[in-house]
Amino acid sequence: MAEDVNHLLQMVNITKRFPGVTALDSVNLAVREGEIHAICGENGAGKSTLMKVLSGVYPAGSYEGEIVYRGEVQRFGNIAASENAGIVIIHQELALVPELSITENIFLGHELNRLGVIDWDEARRRTAELLQQVDLNEDPDTPVKYLGVGKQQLVEIAKALEKDVQLLILDEPTAALNERDSQHLLRLITGLRDRGVTSIMISHKLGEIEQIADTITIIRDGKTIETLAVDGTIDEDRIIRGMVGRTLGNRFPDRSSRVGEVFFEVRDWTVQHPLDPSRLVAKNAAFTVRRGEIVGFAGLMGAGRTELAMSVFGNQYGTRMSGEAFIDGRPVKLRNVKQAISAGLAYVSEDRKSLGLNLLDPIKRAIVSAKLSRISTGGVIDELQETRHAEEYRRDLRIKAADVEVGVDTLSGGNQQKVVLAKWMFSEPELLILDEPTRGIDVGAKAEIYQIMRRLAESGKGIVLISSELPELIGMADRIYTIFEGEITAELDAADVDQETLMRHMAPTKKGSAA
C-alpha cells in the first residue's frame, strides 16, 4: 500500500486465538478516509471476529497486532472506548429495546440530562433531525416494536449518527431486508460517504458490494487474501474466486456408491414465519432423500434451510400452510416431534447448547433422552441398560470423557456435538437431518464427524446435511439443493458442482439468471 494514501484505519497483523482455534491469523485491513470498504468471506472466515476486535468487544490485550486509527495506535478496552473514538458497529441482530420509543432508544445510555433529569423536548427535537437525515418518516415517540426491520435498521444508523460516528461498521445490514428497504439503506450509506462518514460493510450479497463499495478486502480461513479496488473490472466471479479459492484436501471420507432408492419425500411444503404471517420461510419446497445418500442444503444465512428442516421435524418452526411427507411412498403425519421421531426422523440442531442438550444432564441421560422407550418398560427406566447403551456410543464415537456420568456442560464443543449425534443415533432414525453439524468445532473433531456421517449413510440411512461451509457440502453430499428466500432454487449433483455455481444459486441476482 502506498504511504501517501490517507488511511483512517489500519489493522496490522491482527491475530486472535480462541482455545483450540486461531480465528484470525495476521489479518491486515486498511481503510481510507471517506470510502465504503467491503469485507467479504464465507461464514466463519473471521469477518465478525475482526470487527469485534476493532470495536473493543474483544479488548486490547486479548489479541495480537495493532489498530492504528487516525494515525494513533488505539487500545480499546470495551465498546464504549471505540464509540468515543467515533467507531460505531451495527450488528446483524439489532440492539434496540422494542418497548422503548425511537427517541428513548437513540439516547439510551447517554440521555440528555440536567442533574439527572432528562430533557425530553431537546431529545425529541434532535431525534426528529436525525430521522430526517436517515430519511425515516416516523414520529420520534413511536415505540420501536411497531417498526419493521428495515426501519429499525435506520434507527440504528440514526443512533450512530447521534454518537458523531466517523467510522460506521455494518454487519450484514441488508440480510433481513427486502429489496426496496435494501436499496434505501444502500443509498443512505452512499449519502453518508458523501458527507464524510467512512463505512465498513460486511455482506454476503455480492451484487450490493459491487454496487456501492470502493474497496473490497477478502478474508478466508482467518487470513487476509487480497484487497481489491472496485474499478469496473471486478465482478462477482472475481470476488467469489477470492472467497472460496481453497483446494479441497482429502478432509472428507470417500463417497460410497451404494445410494439406494428414494425413501423420503417432501412435497409442496409451505411455512409461515411465526411472527410475520406475510413472510413465507418455505415456499412450496419439495425434495427427496435416497437411502444411503447424503443430501446437502445450501443457502445463505436466513435463506430458510433451518426453518424448513425444523418445520418438517414435527412443525417445530412457524405455521405449516401446506405440505406432505412420504416415507417409502406412504404419507406420514409429522404433526409433532414425537410423531416425527417414531416416523424415523431425527434433527440435530445447529444450536446444540440451547436446542440440542440439557446442559444439566450427564452424558448418559443426554444420549438416551430422545428415545427413552428403548431403555424402559412400562415407563420404568432400566438404568443399567441406559449406562450400557451410553457407554457403547461413548466408545464408538470416541467421546472424550472418563465415563458417561460426566456432565455434558464440561465437554468441549466437538464432544458435545458427538453426544448430540449419539442421542439421535440412539433414536434409531432412518433419516437424520444434520444442521451445521460441524459449526464451531475443531478440525480433528470435524473429520471424525464426517466419518460418522459417512458410516451412517453406508448403513442405509438417509442424511440431510445443512451447512454454510460450501467445501463441506461439496465434499460430503451426493446431491445438493440450493435454497434462497425459502425457495429451492436448484438441485445439483455434488460430483460436478463448484462453489461458484453453488453461490450463484444460493444468491441469485438479476444477471445471474439462476435456475
Binding site: A370, K400, A402
Partner: protein, 445 residues
C-alpha cells in the same frame, strides 16, 4: 479402543475414593452435605435439650406434626424441577380439609369416602390450575397466587369461617397408631415387624442390584462397599424401629408416617426411575431441547401442577385428622415451609435440579428446627428469624458453590479425588485409540 472398560473396576483394589460410593453415585453427593447438616442440627438440639429431641415420644411427635410439610415438599420439588412454583398449596389443603370435614358431617360419608373425596377434589383443583399453566401459558407464579386467594376464600365460604370437627374413625385412620398385637414385649410389635420388613427389603434390593449387574457384566462396585452401605442403612432402620417402637404403650410408628414413607418412596422412584420423571427434569433443564426430543412439555407441566394439588389435599386431610377438625386458619404459610425445604434440599430456582430425597431432608431440617426451638422454649418470633436465616445461608452456600462449579464443600474435596481418577482413566483409554490426532483439550474439566 482398549478392552472392556466394564471389567476393570472389579479388579481394582481398595481405593479411598470408593468410600464415597457407599453413599451412592455422583448425583447424590449434594444431598450428602444437607444430610450432614441435618445430623449436626439434630445433635445440637439433642445436647441443648438434654436428650429430649431423640426421645421416642418426641420423634413420634415430629413425624406426626410435620408429615404434611414433608408431603408438600415432595410435590413441590417436582413443580420446582419442572421450572414452576406453587403458592396455593396451603389454601388448597385448607379447602380440601373443610370440604371433606363438611361432607363427612352432612352426608355422613365413611372415613374412606372422605379420603377419596379429598383426593379427587385435590386432583380437580390441580387440573384446573394445571390447565392455566400448561395450556393457557399463564406463569405458575400468577396462577397459584390467584389460587391462593381463590381457595382460601372458598374455604371460608364453605366453612363459614367456622371449625368443623372430623369423625374419630377418620382421625384414627390418618393420624393414629398401629395396634398392639402379639406377645407382650417392651416394644410395639407391629413397629418391630415393619422394621424387620424394611431391613429385609434393603438387603434384598442391594443383593438384587448386584446380581443384576453381575449378570449383565456391568461395572460392579467393590463388595465391601455394598456390604458397608447395606450395614449402615440397616443400622439406621433398626435404630429408628427401636426408637419408634419404645414409646409409651399404645403408640407406634404413626400411620401418617407410613403414608408419608410410602409416598416418598413412590415419588422418589417416579422422579428418578421413570420416563415421566425424566421428562420433568428435561422440561425444567431445557424446555426447548426437551420438546425437540419429543417430550410433551405441556403435558408434563399439567401433571406436576395437578399432582401438587392432589398432595396438598392429602396434606390438608392429615392436618385435619391431627387437629381433630378443619378450621379457617389451616394451611397458612405452608407453601413457604415447603418451598424452603425444597431449596434447602438443593433444588435450583431456575429448575432442572432437585431430588425428592433432598427435599425430604430439607423439610426435615425445617421440622427439626421448629421442634427443637420449641423444646428449648424459643418463641415464634425468634423462631421465624432463625428459620429465615437458615434458608438464606443454606441456599447462599449452595449458590456460591455452584458459581465455583462445585456442589458443596464436601463436593470440592470429592471433585478433586474424582478428577484425579477420571484423568487416570482417560490416560488408560487414550493409548488404545487408533487415531493419530492428539487427545485435545476436551474431557472432564
Amino acid at each position: 479402543m482398549t478392552g472392556d472398560t466394564a471389567a476393570r473396576p472389579q479388579k481394582r483394589g481398595f481405593a479411598l475414593s470408593d468410600v464415597w460410593l457407599i453413599f451412592g453415585r455422583r448425583g447424590s453427593l449434594k444431598q450428602l452435605g444437607i444430610l450432614g447438616a441435618l445430623v449436626v442440627i439434630i445433635a445440637i438440639f439433642q445436647i441443648w435439650t438434654g436428650g429430649t429431641t431423640l426421645a421416642p415420644g418426641n420423634v413420634i411427635n415430629i413425624v406426626q406434626a410435620y408429615s404434611f410439610i414433608l408431603l408438600l415438599s415432595v410435590g413441590m420439588v417436582m413443580v420446582i424441577i419442572a421450572g414452576h412454583i406453587d403458592l396455593s398449596v396451603g389454601s388448597v389443603a385448607a379447602f380440601v380439609a373443610i370440604v371433606v370435614a363438611t361432607a363427612m358431617r352432612d352426608w355422613e360419608l365413611p372415613w374412606w369416602g372422605g379420603v377419596l373425596l379429598g383426593i379427587a377434589l385435590g386432583a380437580a383443583i390441580g387440573a384446573f390450575q394445571g390447565f392455566w399453566v400448561a395450556y393457557i401459558g399463564v406463569p405458575a407464579f400468577i396462577v397459584t397466587l390467584a389460587g391462593m386467594l381463590i381457595w382460601r376464600g372458598a374455604q371460608q365460604y364453605v366453612g363459614q369461617a367456622q371449625t368443623v370437627a372430623v369423625p374419630a374413625e377418620f382421625r384414627q385412620a390418618l393420624y393414629g397408631f398401629m395396634p398392639e398385637v402379639g406377645p407382650p414385649t417392651p416394644y410395639n410389635n407391629l413397629t418391630l415387624l415393619l422394621g424387620a420388613l424394611v431391613v429385609a427389603a434393603i438387603v434384598f434390593f442391594q443383593w438384587r442390584s448386584r446380581a443384576k449387574r453381575k449378570k449383565l457384566n456391568a461395572i460392579l462396585e467393590p463388595l465391601w462397599v455394598t456390604l458397608t452401605r447395606t450395614g449402615i442403612l440397616c443400622a439406621v432402620v433398626i435404630y429408628a424401629t427401636l426408637l419408634f417402637g419404645s414409646g409409651r404403650v399404645g403408640t407406634s410408628f404413626p400411620i401418617s408416617g407410613i403414608i408419608l414413607a410410602v409416598l416418598i418412596i413412590f415419588y422418589a422412584f417416579l422422579t428418578s426411575r421413570t420416563t415421566l420423571g425424566r421428562h420433568i427434569y428435561a422440561v425444567g433443564g431445557n424446555r426447548r431441547a426437551a420438546e425437540l426430543s419429543g417430550v410433551h412439555a405441556r403435558r408434563t407441566d399439567f401433571f406436576v401442577m395437578m399432582n401438587m394439588s392432589t398432595l396438598a389435599g392429602v396434606a390438608g386431610m392429615l392436618w385435619a385428622a391431627r387437629a381433630g377438625a378443619a378450621g379457617p386458619g389451616d394451611g397458612t404459610g405452608w407453601e413457604l415451609d415447603a418451598i424452603a425445604g425444597v431449596f434447602i434440599g438443593g433444588a435450583a430456582v431456575a429448575g432442572g435440579i432437585g431430588t425428592v430425597f433432598g427435599s425430604v431432608i430439607g423439610g426435615l431440617v425445617m421440622a427439626v428446627l421448629n421442634n427443637g426451638l420449641q423444646l428449648v422454649g424459643i418463641t415464634t418470633d425468634r423462631m421465624q428469624i432463625i428459620k429465615g436465616l437458615v434458608l438464606l445461608v443454606a441456599v447462599g452456600i449452595d449458590v456460591l458453590n455452584k458459581q465455583q462449579g462445585r456442589f458443596s464443600f464436601i463436593g470440592i474435596m470429592l471433585g478433586r479425588l474424582r478428577a484425579t481418577r477420571a484423568q487416570q482413566e482417560v490416560e488408560e483409554i487414550s493409548p488404545g485409540s487408533q487415531r493419530p490426532d492428539p487427545p485435545g483439550k476436551s474431557g472432564p474439566g
